[in-house]
């Protein structure tokens, strides 16, 4: 039998499911799967600090994204704009409540929840407090992470705009740019802080005294 401690020193590649031993890396090194080449984990001494700062920044961009118009159009003198909130209201008022519910979860609720969890989690790990809360947040984060589609929404906006080119005059709003910034930061955070790195940090801070 292998003990839990030794199991913690193992990692399974998300792509090919080969089991690897975790090795101590130098600052800036990246460990890859020797079978399929997928990045397994990386080492960055300030990763928690960086992720904490970046998640605060992404919260600001997220607020901008949710309150300002994404796109404004001008057609024969009549103007229209769209915000994330307006898409959901329009859909539900036209009777597509399931689509509205799904869209609101995917692009409104889960980004907010994920950003809040990130901020709290990195803060808790950084200040080494509230072990139980950090644990619950980590578990909840695992459940909600697959239901986050801001990046796909960004591509959809571009597709919708290309469809409209030629028919109407398009003005891109503040929220669009902040959505771009939010998506880039979010991708960076999930890249340096995937689930197992978060758990490694959690265990390092709270369990290995």
């Amino acid at each position: 039998m292998i003990t839990d401690r030794e199991l913690d020193k193992l990692i399974i590649c998300k792509k090919c499911h080969k089991i690897h031993e975790v090795e101590q890396l130098e600052h800036g090194e990246i460990a890859t799967c020797s079978y399929c080449g997928t990045t397994l984990y990386s080492c960055d001494k300030d990763s928690i600090k960086k992720a904490f700062a970046l998640s605060l920044a992404s919260m600001i961009f997220l607020i901008l994204t949710n309150f300002f118009p994404l796109v404004q159009i001008d057609f024969l003198g009549s103007e229209q704009y769209v915000t994330i909130f307006k898409t959901m209201v329009t859909l539900s008022s036209e009777g597509f409540w399931f689509v509205a519910l799904m869209v609101s979860v995917l692009i409104f609720i889960s980004p907010i929840v994920i950003v809040m969890i990130h901020i709290m989690l990195f803060g808790l790990i950084y200040f080494k407090r509230e072990k139980e809360l950090a644990r619950k947040l980590l578990i909840f984060l695992g459940y909600i992470l697959p239901w986050h589609m801001s990046d796909i929404f960004l591509i959809s906006i571009l597709v919708a705009l290309v469809k409209l080119i030629g028919f109407v005059q398009i003005n891109i709003g503040i929220a669009f740019f902040s959505l771009v910034a939010f998506v880039i930061i979010d991708l960076y955070i999930t890249r340096v802080m995937p689930m197992h790195t978060l758990w490694f940090n959690y265990q390092k801070v709270f369990e290995d005294e």
């Binding site: 090919c16 090795e23 695992g142 197992h196």
Partner: protein, 214 residues
């Protein structure tokens, strides 16, 4: 830096939620770190996944029959299905966009259905034509491309709330709900598929697992 591969005699599982490495204790395996249950293959052979997948396939039929988007242009109504929209865009000359929509709302769901169906059937009636690592890559592909089929729903949502002018109006069609349901259930099906069932059907393994479980 490439990592060493760890050879183990025991069956080890990866928790899909927190990615911890766990022992495989059969049906009742709980993740030692996050305590979520790691569905294991001995008794439930992906039933949940099958149920979600069938629901998704059923929902995909009306998604293709009913109109996805209705354009009201000076009282003149044009409704287009998913495929109709792709063809219309192709005729209008916006090839990249029509290819993106074709990829996201027709190619992705069908590839996902085929991959998951194949993997589930293969787990039930094992045949070793395709190697296990190819099957794992297929599953990874299905998981990665899955969410991209939401593009069409988002596009319709944006256009429907943006184009609300006196003369021109775009309304979402019934297919939007069906398609969203279909995507929702394919995501659930992929999530509840047990990756362990791909390789755990070597001969003679069933009995030893039985005794270990009880």
């Amino acid at each position: 830096m490439s990592n060493k591969i760890f050879e183990s005699k025991e069956d080890l599982l990866r928790c899909p939620l927190c990615e911890a490495v766990n022992y495989d204790r059969g049906r009742l395996t709980k993740c030692r770190r996050c305590h979520s249950s790691l569905y294991s293959y001995k008794y439930f052979k992906n039933e949940k996944s099958v149920a979600f997948l069938i629901t998704a396939i059923i929902a995909y039929i009306p998604a293709n029959i009913y109109p996805m988007m209705i354009t009201k242009n000076f009282g003149h109504e044009i409704s287009s299905t998913i495929l109709g929209g792709v063809i219309l865009l192709w005729q209008q000359g916006s090839y990249p966009i029509s290819l993106i929509i074709l990829f996201a709302s027709i190619f992705v769901p069908i590839v996902k259905f085929v991959i998951l169906l194949y993997l589930i059937i293969n787990a039930k009636y094992p045949k070793q034509e395709v190697s296990n690592s190819t099957k794992k890559n297929m599953y990874y592909l299905a998981e990665i491309i899955g969410p991209w089929s939401m593009i069409d729903v988002f596009v319709v949502a944006i256009l429907a709330s943006l184009i609300h002018l006196k003369s021109v109006e775009i309304i979402a069609g019934n297919a939007a709900t069906a398609f969203a349901l279909s995507v929702f259930f394919t995501l659930l099906a992929a999530q509840s598929f047990d990756i362990g069932s791909i390789e755990k059907h070597k001969e003679g393994q069933g009995d030893s697992r039985d005794s270990k479980t009880r």
